[in-house]
């Protein structure tokens, strides 16, 4: 947890404990996508994930006074969610630990683009004109978003938390029970897949 993040958390926590409804609403909104993604990875269905997220918020409210600030607020909330999701997963007979799934999803991306000696056979295109216009950026984002949906579960979760939600590697490792190395490999493989999708998008638009 960084110093800045600690200060932000302290201010937010003080507001929540004082009953600041707007701050709580904002927190629920800001964490929704990340929590849903983690819950989906644990329980499999969207309906079950929504229930887990909802239960998590109720638990957060109930335990707010017990949070001691030893981790970031995000880690604390994420851990509550994972514990609930695990219980739910066991109940639904879907209780494979996230770290076990992670080991199966780290194959290299596009190995055929390198020669046996390790140099580019099919080099990446230069993007001198990364799209600045709003419409093109929106399209490019769409290409990435579509690819995210096709990523293996663990890569998708790590990429969502790190690159879309801005969680730190420490938070992701703590909540998902991953080692730093494993988390980085999953993030890298996911990013490679997104980069390749963006490259295909650029090739299609002739930019």
């Amino acid at each position: 947890m960084t110093q800045g993040q600690g200060n932000d958390d302290a201010a937010l926590l003080a507001g929540l404990r004082a009953g600041d409804e707007a701050a709580f609403r904002k927190l629920v909104g800001a964490m929704h996508r990340g929590l849903m993604r983690v819950a989906m990875a644990c329980v499999g269905s969207e309906a079950a994930a929504e229930e887990v997220v909802q239960e998590t918020w109720l638990a957060v409210v109930g335990q707010l006074d017990r949070f001691e600030g030893r981790s970031s607020l995000r880690t604390w909330i994420g851990t509550i969610l994972v514990n609930r999701a695990r219980t739910r997963g066991i109940r639904d007979k879907r209780s494979v630990p996230f770290s076990a799934l992670a080991r199966e999803e780290t194959d290299p991306v596009e190995p055929e683009r390198f020669s046996a000696a390790g140099f580019w056979k099919t080099p990446p295109a230069r993007w001198d004109d990364a799209p600045e216009e709003l419409v093109l950026r929106k399209e490019a984002r769409g290409a990435i978003e579509a690819e995210i949906q096709t990523l293996p579960e663990t890569q998708r979760t790590v990429v969502t938390l790190r690159d879309l939600e801005g969680w730190t590697s420490e938070e992701v490792c703590n909540v998902l029970g991953l080692t730093e190395t494993n988390q980085r490999v999953l993030l890298h493989r996911g990013r490679q897949r997104l980069r390749a999708a963006l490259e295909r998008y650029h090739a299609g638009t002739g930019r």
Binding site: G19, W57, G118, P124, R137, A140, D163, R184
Partner: protein, 79 residues
């Protein structure tokens, strides 16, 4: 020898500050002199930047309301 495949594999580690001293140096040198790896590096930057711009769907209102209702209840209990 530090290859393009190595450089490509280290793109995230470099950004995370997780490469050891020598590897970091090799990576920097390689990307500086190899136009293909420079292009790859740029593609990574652009990908991460665009991913960070993807807007989130709002939380369903019924979920927000249920959480808020518990939150209000907490306030009332502590009064």
């Amino acid at each position: 020898m530090y290859t393009c495949r190595d450089a490509s594999e280290h793109m995230t580690e470099m950004r995370e500050g997780a490469l050891s001293g020598w590897l970091r140096l090799w990576h920097r040198l390689h990307v500086a002199i190899c136009p293909h790896c420079r292009a790859c590096n740029r593609q990574f930057d652009e990908t991460v930047k665009l991913a960070g711009e993807i807007p989130a769907e709002p939380a369903p209102e019924r979920m927000v309301e249920s959480a808020l209702s518990a939150f209000r209840g907490r306030g009332e209990r502590s009064e």
